[in-house]
Amino acid sequence: MNAVVFNSVSKRFRHSPALFNWLGRERGGVTEALQRVSLQVPKGEALVLLGPNGSGKTTTLKLISTMLIPDEGEVVIGGADTRGEGGSVRRKVGFAVANERSFFPRLTARENLEFFAVLEDVAKEERRSRVDEKLGLTGLADAADTLVMKFSSGMYQRLGVARALLKNPEVLLLDEPTRSLDPGSAMRFWPFVRHLLWGGTTVVLATHNFQEAAAVGDRIAVLRRGELRSEREFRRGPGVDRPKSDEVEAFYFQVSGDSEDIPVFETAK
């Protein structure tokens, strides 16, 4: 059974310049964030989204989480359409957003999670233990009673994952989850995500990191300018632990065209 289904989904963002635009040069027009994207993620599998900046990775995650609704096509999560059954979808989906500051800075990590646990309908009798469990899983047990305004970027990122896990989601969305983590923590994070998959959680992860994509993904989709360029399954199983990141990298550059017309950084002469 598919946990996540995109049926020919399109999403556009309109840019309406302010009044008196002659004072400046604000751009108008439309950005095609996603164009007729179709994909499926079977339950208990991990889909990794790769693509250059602005390719539609975060838009895809936001469409799953109901932060956005599609202009065309349908997004179905665990049988519920995000357009008509948003409430049902929100109960199934946990989203660790890329924005690290999305917490209440003058609450501690524990207070933040307790607050979100109430909003996520975690029953009172299991709230405390659930919060402790997620703090422990993300390595924040020792910082549980620290105001989050004193957190480092990496700690914010861990807390974001802890918050996304609070409701024990059927679908976990991770937007560049290891961007601010030290290499050791990142390498410990990937098996943790694989462990969640064995428990039946479906994961959709957006990243720029080939090593991360190789470590986590069962399948990898490459997006570019809102189009799904290619999707490939990387087999795992006995004797095949995970694809090599070189293999992922080669696949990415082969299908993404990332180098055709993206501005490059030039070294000074």
């Binding site: 956005l68 917490f103 003058r106 609450l107 307790e114 607050f115 975690v122 409701k167």
Partner: protein, 268 residues
């Protein structure tokens, strides 16, 4: 199925807001000092105007204390709620909150309520210092009447807060509601009685909920009016609540759908 009651969610939101407020230690103290300074200023203003001026049959000082205290409570409550929404937009917390299992209109309504609960401390300080410290005689206030006028006024103000939040998300200018409320203050009887205004302005004042809140609160607290005598204000405010609460929530829900369609939930 919901496993956490609305009351529990409200307590969690109030706890969040109280913790945030008290951890801004200096801001909390400064706001208390501001309240005291305002009360003292009103005391001297009333003394300068003299005892002959008795608007609506009460001394000018208690008239000011109840009018200004209550008006400030309502305005700063809307303002505090709006700031919470703006801050949540800037940090990205709003989008996350709106993807929790709690329906967005419920969350926004409870958050607005909590913002006013936070300002209740200021109001209590204002009234306690003003009415008790300066020994203003209260004519056996009708507590049921006071409670009813207060609850209905609060509900109207929460609706204003929800309108402000919706405007903030829709056009990033929720402050328009504060601006409107701030520009009509002279019609509401905050510093002088509505009866002194010309007829067209008195007519305009009748349509502003705060006018009825202040008239009702002064009647209950300072003139000892019974609930029956307060019936016109109670009825007016009840109708306002019945219209404004559903209208504000419907507007907010519409704005939210539009924000999800256009991707502007976090635009600020």
């Amino acid at each position: 199925m919901t496993r956490v009651s609305l009351a529990e969610k409200l307590v969690a939101i109030i706890r969040r807001d109280v913790l945030t407020t008290v951890r801004y230690r200096n801001g909390f103290l400064l706001s208390a000092v501001g309240v005291l300074a305002e009360v003292v200023a009103f005391r001297y203003l009333a003394r300068a105007i003299g005892p002959a001026f008795r608007p609506e049959g009460v001394d000018y000082f208690p008239f000011l204390i109840v009018g200004s205290g209550f008006y400030t409570f309502l305005i700063t409550g809307v303002q505090a709620f709006l700031s919470t929404v703006q801050e949540a937009q800037q940090t990205g917390t709003l989008e996350v909150l709106l993807t929790t299992a709690t329906p967005a209109p419920v969350l926004i309504f409870l958050s607005a309520f909590s913002a006013f609960a936070g300002k209740l401390v200021n109001l209590a300080l204002f009234l306690v210092v003003g009415l008790l410290l300066f020994r203003v005689p209260l004519l056996h206030p009708d507590l049921v009447g006071v409670g009813l006028i207060f609850a209905l006024s609060l509900a109207v103000a929460v609706a204003m807060g929800v309108f402000a939040a919706a405007l903030q998300i829709a056009v990033q200018k929720g402050s328009a509601v504060i601006w409107v409320l701030g520009s009509v203050w002279f019609l509401t009887g905050t510093l002088f009685p509505v009866g002194t205004l010309p007829a067209p302005l008195r007519w305009a004042a009748w349509w502003i909920p705060v006018t009825h809140s202040l008239t009702g609160m002064r009647g209950a607290l300072l003139l000892g009016k019974s609930t029956r005598e307060l019936a016109p204000e109670i009825l007016w405010l009840s109708v306002a609540v019945l219209v404004l609460i559903p209208a504000s929530l419907a507007f907010f829900a519409w704005v939210l759908r539009r924000g999800r369609r256009e991707g502007t939930l976090s635009a600020y």
